[in-house]
């Protein structure tokens, strides 16, 4: 069983939902990333989405755009990020790590070379925002051969036929984009998320995570009531903008706060 499956099985047994924080690898500098990943786990992260910075992040809002610019100022590359995960794995063999980014850095490395190196480093999944299922079929086959779960996005606008197509390719979990917009926008409507997830579950047997627009413990708790996982990106990356001093502690505290709100008994 893969690390991602393990994580969801364990959480389901405990009646809990996964908390998936996102940080951009190499932000604020490459040397910081591994210890910040451990800080997220210390706060209660179940899975880590590790962003691969790209020069043209057209699906991201300003907060994650700036994170990518900070990381790229240090010349962070996909190969370096794979090495970071290998380093993280020396002290954490359980927490799944999913790389999230855009297609071109993976295209440039080559899917075969990427999948091989990523698998050896202990990377569990890959989410490329701009690789919809139509273009993904051959690439997904390579990832699966090396045990890397392809994580796909579903949206408010996704019709049932597409959800079925995604279900055939996806592994690990699927990521439901809870609003029309870029990362970090603040117009999440939990009611509409619940309705859409109920529809999607008819076609998608995998756990469904919800992201885009989750900003605090309250919205995370509300989403956890209807989803299998809660993804928080921009709100966590905002902590990086307050400077590196005390950053690891702030990340741990923020994640712990969200974790405890998600776990608190529901009336």
């Amino acid at each position: 069983m893969s690390r991602i499956q393990n994580a969801f099985t364990r959480l389901k047994a405990a009646g809990q939902q996964a908390l998936i924080p996102y940080i951009t690898a190499g932000d604020p500098h490459p040397g910081a990333t591994v210890s910040l990943m451990h800080a997220l786990v210390a706060g209660g992260a179940d899975i880590i989405e590790l962003g691969v910075p790209f020069t043209d992040p057209s699906a991201d809002g300003p907060v994650i755009q700036r994170a990518a610019e900070r990381a790229l100022a240090h010349g962070v590359s996909l190969r370096q990020i794979i090495t970071m995960v290998a380093e993280f794995r020396k002290a954490d063999s359980d927490t799944p790590v999913v790389l999230m980014g855009y297609a071109n850095p993976v295209e440039a490395m080559g899917y075969e070379a990427f999948a091989k190196a990523a698998s050896a480093a202990g990377i569990d999944g890959l989410l490329t925002v701009d690789l919809p299922p139509e273009e993904a079929i051959d690439r997904v086959a390579i990832l699966k051969r090396y045990g890397i779960d392809p994580i796909f996005l579903l949206a408010l606008t996704t019709p049932p036929a597409r959800a079925r197509a995604v279900a055939e390719l996806a592994a690990g979990y699927v990521y439901y984009v809870s609003l029309k917009g870029v990362t970090g926008a603040a117009n999440l409507d939990v009611g509409s998320v619940a309705t859409k997830l109920a529809e999607l579950r008819q076609y998608i047997p995998l756990p469904i995570g919800v992201g885009f627009g989750i900003r605090d413990a309250a919205s995370a708790r509300a989403v956890a009531a209807v989803a299998d996982a809660v993804v928080i990106g921009s709100r966590i990356v905002q902590e990086f903008e307050a400077g590196e001093s005390g950053l690891a502690g702030r990340l741990t505290d923020f994640v712990a706060g969200v974790r405890s709100a998600m776990n608190a008994p529901r009336a």
Binding site: S58, D60, P62, E107, D130, T157, T158, G181
Partner: protein, 411 residues
């Protein structure tokens, strides 16, 4: 009535591209976030219906004739040809269109589509500002709200066009992210579109982006080549030996090339921006520099990138060519060898700019000056009975501040 007849490739195989998923061989496709997929599906379906609807085609043709002023003349640049001493140069005068460039052909087509789809708001990206002006123009013409995204660096170097867009009632947003040029404007337009996808139509200005944009932009622009074929037959009695056009994303080039793809003996030559010289790395010439294929802005194309797949900064004196990729159909035509691609440096483009001013009394756009410079190079190597058509894609009024600055003149 305009007719869109699929051309034949030179080997007599039907040239029927793109395929249903927008592929031109290995290029093109749909590489966008999931939220936009249904919007692209809707656009593709509506576009296919529109192109079979006589009323739509008749309105498009009417607007091109009475609002744009088509057909644009095919003009024999006799004095410049004599000076060069070789082939006869003919200019396809897209600079005489309403708004001063070929861009309006496409924005009219897309604005009519937007109206058909019930969208009240249009957005556009722009580099030199010509597409922004053409979008603002049609938005005013059809009563649509218009927001234009423009890299902050381009806002500074194309001030007259920024003011023109505002006069036409558009909002212009200066994009400060990334390299602050055309590609970043396109990123920002895609962010707007994904946020406002229900109300908004995204008018992409070149034959790039996710399917169906490269196809529909080509089809709307192919009026240039269709007219050119008729005009060549009438005025010269034969088709040219070569057709030359500048290539940023490549919309004016594909517009004049497409109807010639199945015409044997007509060389098709795309001229990229060589900047300081392709060998210096400071250029915007992905095909000439053999850039690897990659994925950006919803498409797989030859792309200027570093070894890690990050997009590199481009350089060109002309904002409209300052783009790290090139439309997928050009990538395909390059790969199969049906079209050739070369680069012209900033200096060479400037020389051609001044030559056309002096010898023909025409002030060309800096973008088009790249095509002029290469056409002049070719002409001088050819005989006097040979014919070159150069697509004069836009006029140079917008570039006057840039030229003055280079000459050390304060206006």
């Amino acid at each position: 009535m305009l007719e869109y007849v699929k051309p034949m490739a030179a080997n007599n195989q039907p040239y029927e591209l793109p395929d249903e998923h927008g592929h031109f061989g290995q290029f093109g496709g749909i590489y966008v976030a999931e939220t936009l997929i249904p919007a692209l599906d809707e656009l593709r379906e509506e576009y296919q219906r529109a192109m079979k609807d006589p009323a739509f085609l008749a309105e498009f043709e009417y607007e091109l004739k009475h609002y744009v002023g088509r057909p644009s003349p095919l003009y024999h640049a006799r004095r410049w040809s004599d000076e060069l001493g070789g082939a006869q140069i003919y200019l396809k005068r897209e600079d005489l269109n309403h708004t001063g460039a070929h861009k309006i052909n496409n924005t009219i087509g897309q604005a009519l589509l937007a109206r058909r789809m019930g969208k009240k708001r249009v957005i556009a990206e722009t580099g030199a500002g010509q597409h922004g002006v053409a979008s603002a123009t049609v938005a005013a013409r059809y009563g649509l709200e218009c927001v234009v995204y423009m890299g902050a660096e381009d806002v500074a170097r194309q001030a007259p066009n920024v003011f023109r867009m505002k006069l036409l009632g558009a909002s212009v947003v200066a994009v400060e992210s990334g390299s602050r040029t055309l590609k970043d404007a396109m990123n920002e337009a895609m962010r707007d579109w994904v946020t406002n996808v229900d109300s908004t139509y995204y008018i992409i200005g070149t034959c790039a982006g996710p399917h169906p944009y490269p196809q529909l932009v080509r089809d709307f622009q192919s009026v240039i080549g269709e007219e050119c074929k008729v005009q060549c037959a009438e005025q010269i009695g034969r088709q040219p030996d070569a057709v030359v056009a500048c290539v940023g994303g490549g919309s004016n080039a594909i517009g004049i090339f497409y109807p010639y793809i199945d015409v044997p003996g007509v060389r098709l030559i795309g001229v990229e921006a060589g900047g300081n010289g392709v060998e210096t790395g400071r250029h915007a010439a992905p095909l000439t520099s053999n850039a690897r294929p990659g994925v950006l802005h919803g498409q797989r194309v030859n792309l200027m990138q570093d070894e890690n797949g990050q997009i590199v900064d481009t350089h060109s004196i002309s904002a409209g060519l300052d783009y790290p990729g090139v439309g997928p159909e050009h990538c395909y035509l390059n790969e199969i060898g049906r079209a050739e691609y070369v680069a012209i440096n900033d200096d060479e483009a400037l020389t051609a700019f001044h030559d056309l001013c002096r010898y023909e009394g025409i002030i060309p756009a800096l973008e088009s000056s790249h095509a002029l410079a290469h056409g002049a190079k070719m002409a001088s190597q050819m005989s006097r009975d040979q014919i070159i058509v150069i697509n004069l894609s836009g006029r140079g009024d917008k570039d006057i501040p840039t030229i003055a600055r280079l000459d050390g003149i304060v206006l």
